[in-house]
Each structure stands twice: as structure tokens, then as C-alpha cells.
Symmetry: C2
Subunit: 429 residues, 2 copies
């Protein structure tokens, strides 16, 4: 980890730049996958499954008996743990449905907004060695709470054509049974354009590797909305003298183990904190099965010493971290100054991994500095807000004449006439 | 206008397809403009201004005296009309700031979300013959209510390098004074990447021609967020026997005059409505200065007769119109069935042009079927929601053990350890 003591402010922007990992030829490969799926449908999906997953699944759709059977192999203590996470995620995401008031803007002019679910949501869950069933909960629960009628889930099969039972089990308890064994850019293509078996959806959600991310970018250009742009995961910890170096080290490592491109940052105003945390990292990292990944991630990472907690927060706001842990004596005071972050963890017992699974907040968050303008996934992500207005004759008598004048000034006489013809008819009543 | 009587449901999807107008070479041209501005900064902007606007502005930034002077040439009755619109837009958009409750998901685990403004917003206002000062209000007012610290407005100059005084006046009364005379794709590039004079912004908003739209798409791929994808404007009117054919015709024409690529649709269950509205259109269109534009737009447009108001609403939900006017005997009942629309107008006196200017709702709305998953612009568009969580030791004792199990099941032992190390320290207290 790079250590920087009291960097001058004019250097902060360059410190906050994320490491860039670019694959050459990625866009060409993904464009080809998208067009093959668009043209070939299911047939193309089977071909890509053989090529990329080494699998020849009998059926793209996972059958209901297969889904039901999955629960039986999940141990009871894990089922109970998942139930705790599910209940908390449901509580927090249900509270996000808020009825907005009707506003009478002028007498006789009533305006309001109504949240209406997106008709169909496509969820992508990556495969690989670790089954990310927590992400199933984080996507499927708000989709169901929002009221999406059709929820489709795509995830890649293993070499035998099977889906990890934990993915199937969590999907089932979250109410999702339209599950398809297809992964990568081809899964995004299938949900964007539809195939014989997989229905096209109204919006696509979920994390993935660079192929998946690029596919999401490209289908968005084709008019299919996606949740948000993606990038490697990251955490920033603000630690003052009251922080526990072993906790901070554990938090940095929990992020570093995600992938070699993850970035972890500690910012502190305490001169002793950096050496203490480094010592803890050196000790703890040896216990981690994913040590090699964590070591690579730490190479891209930063420890920065600044002059005060407020300066640490200024740095964090410039960095705009996906996860921000505030481990200081008065975390609430500092939390009030957060301008840019995905999800914020207050105090030394609020570790990121608690929020990754079970506090109830969503763990699908903006990375790569996107927290400056994007929100994490929430129930809102599965809905759109439609505005409504009702103008009575009395209301039209008030706002009609101003609209006529403004429309004429914009040289839109058709707009003006739609008012004039109504005002005239009211005079004749 | 095409007239279709009782089309079978399986043909609806093709009826709902928007006409496509594609410019060849557009992407290449726009990519070149973006890279020239990125490399050349202000110098490139002056060159493009000379090339595309035929203007050689002395200064990109509009000076404060210039802005102040604009108000003096706006007639008093128009200033008063703008004040009515501004007050209503402010009322409706202020009500969109809602404090969300803190949720205790498990005992000792508190979660909440907070809306925080995007730091800087870039507003694009098209030029051309008609000064779209109403769009200035629709973008600048919610940006200011959200609390954006920096609001930048770009709009193209006329041949003399001047900006229409109505644009300057509405910007000023909406609190925007960072105004730059630059238009087209080059304006989007300037706000995305920054130049010597024009600061880079966190998010870009506003309508524009195909160059502007393509530029917004491309900078989004570079990580600069935009409000929403764009397309030609459109209206769908549902009319039953209680609708006034002259009102319906005026509403269709008010949309048709926007541009030759606008689409207007009427859906009715009344066999007499189509001929009546057509007759009214033929009469009213002759009064319109923009008759030629409206005629071209009507060529792409539709009149559909269906069997019931409910069937009309089904058609509308499939079409997902930007504007939906419900002119039926019980508009509220039908409004409850709206699934996909940008903004909805209830009853015969609620014409679209009222909402375009002054009901208080926003007129920047999803077109081209994007209303299936996008919302129109609101105060939310200028904010992001950050999630917060605070886990007490008691809370960690509840959710910690489940998180340990789930993290282990996802093979993320670093995540597990961040919990374990804290639980151990609590036992030792």
C-alpha cells in the first residue's frame, strides 16, 4: 500500500484516480456476442455455453423440481442466517415505498407523482467459485417489493450444467422462479433482446465481469436501461485515534479479497494509525484463503495521513467511495458532512461486511467515483415515477392566460391554441 | 394519419413502434467533436461556434451585466406569466424532498437513506428560432431546490454571438448565472470534460438535436451521467364519447408542431370520434404558423379505434407515451390503470400545454417508449440517495453470526473475519 503523509490538496484529485484495467478487444468480442444472440436466439446461447462455461445444459430454464430440490442441500443454520438477512432487507426496502402528497400548485390545479413498477426486471448473478447468493437477495427482494410482475434471473452453469443450490434457494425464497442457466455477455443479450426461451425485460440489473459490464453498456445504447455503470469494488475507512487497528485492517482486507482490481483506502489524522494498521494487515492476511488476491489489491491501495477528521472527510468526498466506514469518536457528526458515497458505516462496530449481507441496506452500490451522481440499488430502481395533473376550469382560468403568453413567446402557437380553444369554450358556458 | 379500426392485439406491438430517423455518419462526426474539445478546450469551442453557429463570440461566458440587461427587454406581462410558472414548478418540486425514516431492522441495527445533491449540474438549452425558456425553468428550478452548488448552463449563440434575452432572464430568476454561449455536441463535450472556461460537471441534463443526443450517449460511456436517453416528443390521447373533438385536435396539433419527427396518437372507443377529430384537425391546422412541420408529423401518426376505455388504456400502456391525455367521463378511474407514461393529464381541461409550462410538473420526460422504465426529471434527478447504517455491539451480536455463516458460504473469509474479530473483542469486554 502506498503511504502518503499530508499530501497538498492540489494532489488529491490524482490520488483519488482509480487504477485502470483495460482489456483490449473487449468491445469487439462483446459486440459479436450480442449480435449472435440477437440473430440466433437460444441456439447461440447453447453454443456460448459450450464455449465459455464448458457446459452443455439440457435446458436453459431451470425446472421447478430442480429449484425445490436446492433447498434440501442448504444446511439449516445457513437457511436461518439467510432468513435474518432477508427479513432485514425486506424491512428496509419496504420502507422505501412512500406515497407522495397531492400538491395544489394553483387553485384548481392538482399535481402528484405515483411510483409504478417496471414491468419486467432481469437480474444477472455471476457464477464462478463463490456463489453470490447475497446478491440474489439484494436484487430480487426490492424487485418483488416494487411489484415487478416478471422477474427473470440469469446465472452461468457449472461444467455439468448445474446452478449452485444456494443461488436457486435464495431466488426461490425471494419469489423468483424464472431462472435460466446462461451467463456472461450472452445472458445480458438474452435479457435485452429476448430469445425463444428467455423473455426480453424492461431493465437489467446486477454485477459481473468485464464482459457483462461491457454488454450492459452496449445494450443501454440500444435503449435497454441498466441499473448503473460498474467498476471494481472499493472501501474508504476514516480512522481517528479511537479506531481499533485490528478492525480497520480486517475491513480493508475484506474489501481487498474481492478481486485484484479492488481498491482499499485508509485516511487518518493519527500518525500512529498507519503503522498499526499495516502491522495488523500483515498478520491477518496470512489467515486468508484469498491471500494472493488481497495482496494484489493492496498494491493499488492507499494509506493517507491528513490533519483532521474534517480533512479526512473532504478527501473522502473527493474520492466518492462505494463504501465509507467512519471509525471516529463522533461518527454522527462526521456523517453529516458526507457528500459522495454509496453506503456509509458509522462507528467501529459497523463493518462493511455487516452491510454486505444483513443490516438491510443494499450492497449493489456505485463504484469508480460514480457515487458522485448515482445512488445504490433500492426499491426505487425497480420503479418509475409518473407525474399526474388535473386542471379544473377554474384552474385553467388562472394558468391558461400565462401559458398562452409563454407559448406564443416560444413561437408554439399550437400549444397556445390548445389553451385558447378551452378558455373560449368556458366563456361560452 | 393512419386510421386503424379494432386492430387485433397481436398487431399492437408493431403499431406502437416509433418511426426511426437515423442520420448516417452522426456518430463519427460527434466522436470527432468530442475528442477535439477534449484536446483543444476553449479554442476548439470557438472554432465550432464559427463553423456551426456562424458566430464569433468575444467571450464564451455571458457577463453579469448582459444577464441583468436581458430582463429589461422582456415585457412585463410575459415576466408575470413566467412568475406564475416558476411558482408552480417550485411548489411541486419542493414537495419532492422527503425525509425518509430511520429503520431499525434488527435490534441495535439502524439504517436510513439521505438525499444529497449532485455537486454540479450542467444544463443544455437548445437554440434555434424559438427560445425554449420554459426548459430553463424545468431544469434550473429542481437543480436549485436539490441544492446543487454549481449549475452551469450552455446554449448556442445566434449569428451575432448573442443569447436570446428570454433564456438569460429565466436563468437569472431561477438562480443560474454561469451561462456559456456554446451549443451542440461541443457544449456537451465542454460540460463533460471541462475546458479553460467551462467547468466539468457531475451530470448533464437537457434536450437537444441528434448531435446533442448522440454526444450525451457517448459521454455517458465515458462515465459522465446524463438525465435520460432522448427521442422525438409524443402524445397519446384517450378519448371517449365525452371528449371534445376540437380540444383533442388542438392537443394533437400542439404536439405535432414540435417537429416533423413528433408522433401523435389518438385512441378511442367511440366510432364517431376519429372522423370528428380529423375534421377539426383539418380546420385548425390552417391557423398554425408551423403548419408544414405539423403536417409532416401527422404522416407518422395514428388514430386507433378500440372496444372500450380499458382496451384503450391497455394500448397506451404498451405504447408508453411521453404525454398521456385521458379525456373520458371518469378519468380518475382510468388513471389508476396507467402503467407506463411520462406525464398524465386527467380530464378535458388538462391539456398537455398546461403541463408544458405551468401546472408545476416537469416537462422533461421519457420519450420513445422509455417511459416503461425511466421517470421524467424531478428534484430526485439532481440528487443521489446515500444509505447509512449504524450497528451497535448489541446489534452485531444479533446479525454477526448469520453474516459469518453467509460470508463463509460465499468463500469470503475476509468478510467473515471482519465480524469475528469484533465479536471476539466484545466477548473480552
Amino acid at each position: 500500500m502506498k503511504t502518503i503523509i499530508n499530501p497538498p490538496r492540489e494532489t488529491w484529485a490524482s490520488l483519488c484516480k482509480r487504477p485502470v484495467f483495460e482489456m483490449t478487444g473487449l468491445e469487439t468480442t462483446v459486440r459479436e456476442i450480442l449480435s449472435k444472440v440477437k440473430a440466433g436466439g437460444d441456439k447461440a446461447l447453447y453454443e456460448f455455453s459450450e464455449k465459455y462455461d464448458g457446459a452443455l445444459p439440457k435446458d436453459l430454464r431451470v425446472s421447478l423440481p430442480e429449484i425445490d430440490a436446492a433447498g434440501e442441500v442448504v444446511p439449516e443454520n445457513l437457511r436461518n442466517s439467510i432468513a435474518v438477512a432477508k427479513a432485514n432487507i425486506e424491512k428496509f426496502h419496504s420502507a422505501q415505498i412512500i406515497d407522495e402528497p397531492v400538491i395544489e400548485t394553483s387553485s384548481g390545479v392538482r399535481c402528484w407523482r405515483k411510483s409504478v413498477p417496471v414491468g419486467s426486471a432481469g437480474l444477472y448473478i455471476p457464477g464462478g467459485t463463490a456463489p453470490l447468493f447475497s446478491t440474489v437477495l439484494m436484487l430480487a427482494i426490492p424487485a418483488r417489493i416494487a411489484g415487478c410482475k416478471n422477474i427473470v434471473l440469469c446465472t452461468p452453469p457449472d461444467r455439468h450444467g448445474n446452478i449452485n443450490p444456494l443461488i436457486l434457494y435464495t431466488a426461490m425464497i425471494a419469489g423468483v422462479t424464472n431462472i435460466f442457466r446462461v451467463g456472461g455477455a450472452q445472458a445480458i443479450a438474452a435479457m435485452a433482446y429476448g430469445t425463444q426461451t428467455i423473455p426480453a425485460v424492461d431493465k437489467i440489473f446486477g454485477p459481473g465481469n468485464q464482459y457483462v459490464t461491457k454488454a450492459k453498456e452496449l445494450v443501454q445504447l440500444d435503449g435497454i436501461p441498466i441499473d448503473m455503470p460498474a467498476g471494481p469494488s472499493e472501501v474508504l475507512v476514516i480512522a481517528d485515534e479511537t479506531a481499533d487497528p485490528s478492525f480497520v485492517a480486517a475491513d480493508l482486507l475484506s474489501q481487498a479479497e474481492h478481486g485484484p482490481d479492488s481498491q482499499v483506502v485508509m485516511v487518518t489524522d493519527n500518525p500512529e494509525m498507519i503503522p498499526r494498521v499495516k502491522k495488523q494487515i500483515d498478520e491477518q492476511i496470512n489467515q486468508l484463503p484469498r491471500k494472493e488476491i488481497a495482496l494484489k489489491s493492496l498494491e493499488n491501495s492507499l494509506m493517507v495521513q491528513l490533519k483532521s477528521p474534517e480533512e479526512c472527510m473532504d478527501f473522502s468526498n473527493l474520492y466518492a467511495p462505494e463504501h465509507l466506514i467512519i471509525s471516529v469518536s463522533d461518527p454522527a457528526a462526521l456523517a453529516g458532512k458526507v457528500q459522495n458515497a454509496g453506503s456509509v458505516f458509522l462507528g467501529k462496530y459497523s463493518c462493511e461486511s455487516a452491510g454486505d449481507y444483513a443490516t438491510g441496506t443494499n450492497h449493489t452500490l456505485p463504484t469508480n467515483g460514480f457515487a458522485r451522481s448515482y445512488s445504490g440499488i433500492s426499491t426505487d430502481s425497480f420503479m418509475k415515477k409518473i407525474s399526474f395533473q388535473e386542471v379544473t376550469p377554474a384552474g385553467l382560468n388562472i394558468i391558461g392566460p400565462p401559458v398562452e403568453l409563454m407559448a406564443a413567446a416560444e413561437q408554439l402557437n399550437g400549444h397556445k391554441n390548445a389553451i385558447t380553444i378551452r378558455l373560449k369554450s368556458l366563456k361560452n358556458v
